[in-house]
Symmetry: C2
DNA sequence: CAGAAATTTTAATGGCGATTAAAATAATGC
DNA sequence: GCATTATTTTAATCGCCATTAAAATTTCTG
């Protein structure tokens, strides 16, 4: 009854649950999906979920936590691998889109943070802010090194992240389309960042 | 009891309701907002809403209908006023962002079409598709007249519309910020559309 | 295979929220 | 002011859904 996070069996099942939940939440929203919706995807009963999670609220919380982890990892890899700010932005978007529509299963978009209860909400908000900040820093770095045109990084960041976060609203599975998105989106989103030729 | 749409009083009150509902839906989603949430914004009781609307489903439906009208109007004006495809895209985004965060009150983003019942869903889906199409045509026009770089119009359209639709997730009122958004967003979103200098 | 632990199901409970009908209040025409 | 109509509220009803406890089943250990 007292499972530790390293219990393979337990952890694996909980991951399956988080993925299914993320898919549902992205599709129908937090209040719009019942625990039955989630459990049905797994061939389970709604009550079974309570073996892995204390409440529905904790389920979203964990989904968001997982999203924050993967997002943070994407940023880290991009910063590590990219030379210029532009390259880092490009790489980051590639990784982020990949975890969004790729094999590693859908990741929940954090569109319902207000639904979380105070303690969880604060924590996720903090992680979310940190992530936005990290992306804005990449943009700022690009501006500094001349690989990105001068711009309002806050606003530009919001625009780009919005385009990415909206993906689940029009993409519902389908490997072929997923490939297209991964291939095209990062380019589309970064095309507007390049400095005008005249400035170079 | 049998009000006609041209009854000033009735129509005005229903519009206020639609705006309040749009604000709530954007903030907490369809299932996440109760009729009490909406009515509270208006100093009414939840039951009072039923005098203006048959059901909660019809409320979202009307919100989406209103969104489609304003969106369609924005496209029409842009196409009418802009010379090149690029200019039309730029104008359209200006108008669209304006109705999103400006005075005319918030407009609902169509993020929960699946929640509608079949007949309404079909209708809204059709309007939504038509709107996406219209924007993609603007992009195609720009590519044809050389004002926009060659690109996948479907994917590019999705990216841009996503950035716009995501705005309500991070913007919650505030006239100052609204002004910034209106001033900057259209430029940010169209910057990536320009053909590279080398191609001109 | 026996027994213990882990996992899931069955079968309540309770509350919230959409909906409705009847009653109350406000507005309007005469 | 009176009668009629328009608008809103009050007071149910009903169903869905989160949550829980107890029972059943499966998995693991020896």
């Amino acid at each position: 009854m007292a499972q530790t996070a390293d219990d393979t069996r337990f952890a694996a099942q909980r991951d399956r649950i988080l993925k299914a939940a993320a898919r549902c939440f992205n599709e129908k929203g937090y209040s719009g999906t019942s625990l039955k919706d989630v459990s049905r995807h797994l061939g389970l009963t709604d009550a079974a979920l309570y073996y892995y999670v204390r409440s529905k609220e904790e389920l979203v919380y964990r989904c968001y936590l997982r999203a924050a982890e993967l997002g943070s990892e994407a940023v880290a890899r991009a910063v590590d691998e990219g030379q210029t700010g532009f390259e880092q932005a490009r790489l980051y978007l590639g990784y982020h889109v990949e975890i969004m529509v790729g094999e590693r299963g859908p990741v929940a978009i954090m569109s319902e943070i207000p639904s979380l209860k105070a303690p969880h909400r604060e924590e996720i908000l903090e992680l979310s802010r940190r992530h936005s900040l990290a992306f804005e820093e990449i943009l700022a770095r690009g501006i500094a090194d001349g690989s990105i045109a001068d711009c309002d990084v806050r606003m530009t960041g919001n625009a780009i992240m919005g385009a990415v976060n909206w993906i689940p609203k029009w993409f519902h599975g389908g490997t072929a389309l997923a490939g297209d998105i991964i291939a095209e989106f990062p380019d589309i989103l970064t095309r507007g960042l390049r400095p005008a030729a005249a400035d170079r």
